[in-house]
């Protein structure tokens, strides 16, 4: 099983490394968001405070609006990490469909390689991309904070080893979860157009019901409530609470991680059932 998994995973990474356009495109999207959207949309609720409002009160308004983050950009940068964990996995299933169309998947299915190796190799390579991209986003956002004229991510809390581990876990779990979802859909479907239609049906509602990009203070109460069950929000909450402190979060990062883990476990469980059925040795 390990040799088969190793061989197929090697293939995935070789293909990835030979597709610099895809790597460039995957870096471009978060770069544009960080460089343009985040900078241009960097709203400051302090500007709307009546003149003469004490600075401490103004600062309190800002913190409440952005759940402890000192600026929208800092709040948004943590959200962008969740955002890329989803968007970078969108194509993973499409690659399976194209491999089916080109006969490559048929060749693999004709070998005795277990379905777990076929699925696992693509999952490892598929999840590695958003994980790396998430750290690229974090690094770039922190770097921007040190470039004159740009706004960046300001981490205001002390992170520590536990906090750093929790951030990594949140990124890994969220990436694995969405990679599993989209990979499973790719294995079940044969037509790229249908795949992208289904992916959009999942991707957009999940992204738009999360608090990844909306300022917390501007969200209606019902959306805030709904967003707290959203897996992207759960992961982003781990990051924000770790980066900006616990004052504005009702639960600890561990609880959010537990929620994210539950989501991942349920969805991976469903995916395993579906994939086992789809990749049976004889159909």
């Amino acid at each position: 099983m390990l040799r088969e998994l190793g061989a197929l995973t090697r293939r995935e990474f070789l293909k990835l490394a030979r597709n610099p356009q895809a790597i460039f495109t995957s870096l471009l999207l978060p770069l544009l968001y960080l460089l343009l959207f985040g900078q241009g949309f960097n709203i400051n609720p302090a500007n709307f405070a009546p003149p003469g409002t004490p600075p401490a009160v103004v600062q309190g308004i800002v913190y409440a609006y952005f759940r402890g983050a000192p600026t929208y950009y800092s709040y948004f940068a943590a959200g962008m990490v969740g955002f890329v964990c989803v968007t970078a996995t969108l194509f993973i299933g499409a690659n399976v469909i194209f491999d089916k169309l080109f006969g490559i998947f048929k060749r693999t299915r004709g070998t005795p390689a277990p379905s777990a190796a076929v699925f696992g190799s693509r999952l490892i390579a598929g999840a590695a991309q958003p994980i790396l991209l998430a750290f690229f986003v974090l690094g770039l956002a922190i770097l921007f904070a040190h470039i004159p004229g740009l706004t960046g991510l300001h981490v205001t809390a002390s992170i520590g080893v536990l906090g750093a581990t929790e951030v990594v876990l949140a990124i890994v779990l969220l990436s694995l979860m969405f990679a599993t979802i989209f990979l499973t859909i790719g294995i079940l479907l044969d037509v790229p157009q249908i795949y992208f239609a289904v992916v959009n049906l999942i991707n957009l509602p999940v992204l738009l019901t999360s608090d990844a990009l909306y300022p917390w203070g501007s969200m209606p109460a019902w959306l805030r409530t709904a967003s707290q069950f959203n897996p992207i929000s759960l992961a982003v909450n781990v990051l924000r609470e770790t980066f900006f402190g616990a004052s504005y979060y009702p639960y600890s990062p561990e609880i959010y991680l537990l929620g994210l883990f539950a989501w991942t476990a349920v969805l991976v469980g469903i995916a395993i059932l579906l994939v086992q059925r789809a990749l049976r040795p004889l159909d």
């Binding site: 040799r3 088969e4 190793g6 061989a7 197929l8 090697r10 293939r11 070789l14 293909k15 030979r18 597709n19 080109f102 006969g103 490559i104 048929k106 060749r107 693999t108 299915r109 004709g110 070998t111 005795p112 390689a113 190796a117 040795p281 004889l282 159909d283």
Partner: protein, 339 residues
């Protein structure tokens, strides 16, 4: 049915979606070391049968037995014993030839070091050394087929399934491909099951042939046995457009066993073509039907195919007559004029 065959099909049936009966009770037995040709028109059930034999598809009824193992219950073990060369290219174009082979070896649980060593040997064997480290998407059609063959052999299978292996190859490419297969069979005693549209390939390369049509085996035997079953030569007489029907008059001639008319063309089966031609031409002229052309054919697999499937071999599915002639000449040359 005896059970010592390398490939045994026992009353295989495949019904898709409860409606479409793709294969209807196919049975045959391929002996170890044999090259067995499986012929049939498009949609006759060839690929479905190969899929059932190679653990790609579960039969609706019947059994497939490979090297003594029933496929339905031993899919993984069967996959380790067989190599499959698919109709379409399955090598990964973004990987080099060598990487394709190494990855393929890994999918059979072969270690990296052993996979690398087998890849190098196969690359050399298939004359791909110069192109081994190029992306396979840059390969010519012939090189790709050779790479496909190498990928199918990397785990050293006992039985090789070739599904339309030379489709789209030029005569040189086809001759080269068959040269490798013949060599393999000679050196390893490998059993080869091949589906092909190219009847001359089947005639020259296969020890035995089965013809499938509408999901059923309609003929089986050695190429010579099948040709002998046609019972003699085939004379085709074409009369001028609008000439009277000559079917009965031609059927009455000595040595004629059957006459089939298609428009102004008569396909006459007879014991001796040379003897019949003057008689047939004279009969037509006497009756006032001008003859515009006459051909005499010794029985070929094309004739066998037509006889058993009722369909002319379709040229658009295969090579031109010139291509085939050139290829067969080269193949015979390569094999030292075996047939």
């Amino acid at each position: 049915m005896q059970n010592q065959g390398a490939i045994i099909a026992e009353n295989l049936v495949k019904v898709y979606n409860g409606k479409v009966r793709a294969v209807e009770g196919v049975s045959f037995n391929v002996a170890p070391g044999e090259i067995f040709g499986f012929l049939g028109p498009n949609g006759a059930g060839k690929t479905t049968t190969v899929s059932m034999l190679s653990a790609g598809l579960r039969p609706t009824e019947g059994r497939a037995i490979i090297d003594g193992l029933e496929v339905s219950h031993n899919a993984e073990a069967v996959k380790r014993r067989i190599g499959v060369i698919f109709q379409e290219a399955t090598a990964d174009g973004d990987l080099t030839g060598r990487e394709n082979l190494e990855v393929a070896a890994g999918t059979y649980g072969i270690s990296r070091a052993e996979g690398r060593s087998r890849a190098t040997a196969l690359i050399e064997e298939m004359h791909l050394t110069d192109a081994a480290d190029r992306y396979s998407k840059t390969y010519s059609g012939g090189m790709r087929r050779r790479l496909e063959l190498a990928v199918g052999l990397v785990h050293r299978p006992k039985i090789l399934f070739l599904d339309e292996p030379t489709l789209g190859l030029d005569p040189q490419g086809r001759a080269g491909f068959w040269g490798y297969v013949q060599k393999l069979r000679k050196e390893t005693g490998m059993t080869v099951f091949v589906t092909t549209h190219y009847l001359d390939e089947a005639d020259t390369m296969c020890d035995r042939i089965a013809i499938i049509d509408h999901g059923k085996i309609v003929a089986e035997g050695t190429p010579n046995q099948l040709k002998d079953r046609l019972g003699g030569d085939v004379v085709t007489v074409r009369t001028a457009p609008g000439a009277q029907d000559m079917t009965e008059a031609l059927r009455a001639l000595a040595g004629v066993t059957s006459v089939q008319r298609t428009d102004d063309s008569y396909r006459i089966k007879c014991s001796s073509g040379e003897t019949l031609v003057p008689l047939a031409v004279e009969t037509c002229y006497t009756a006032g039907a001008a003859v515009s052309g006459v051909t005499v054919k010794r029985p070929s697999l094309d004739e066998v195919f037509l006889e058993f499937t009722g369909r002319e071999y379709r040229e658009e599915d295969g090579p031109t007559a010139t291509d085939r002639a050139v290829m067969m000449q080269r193949v015979r040359g390569a094999m030292g004029g075996r047939r």
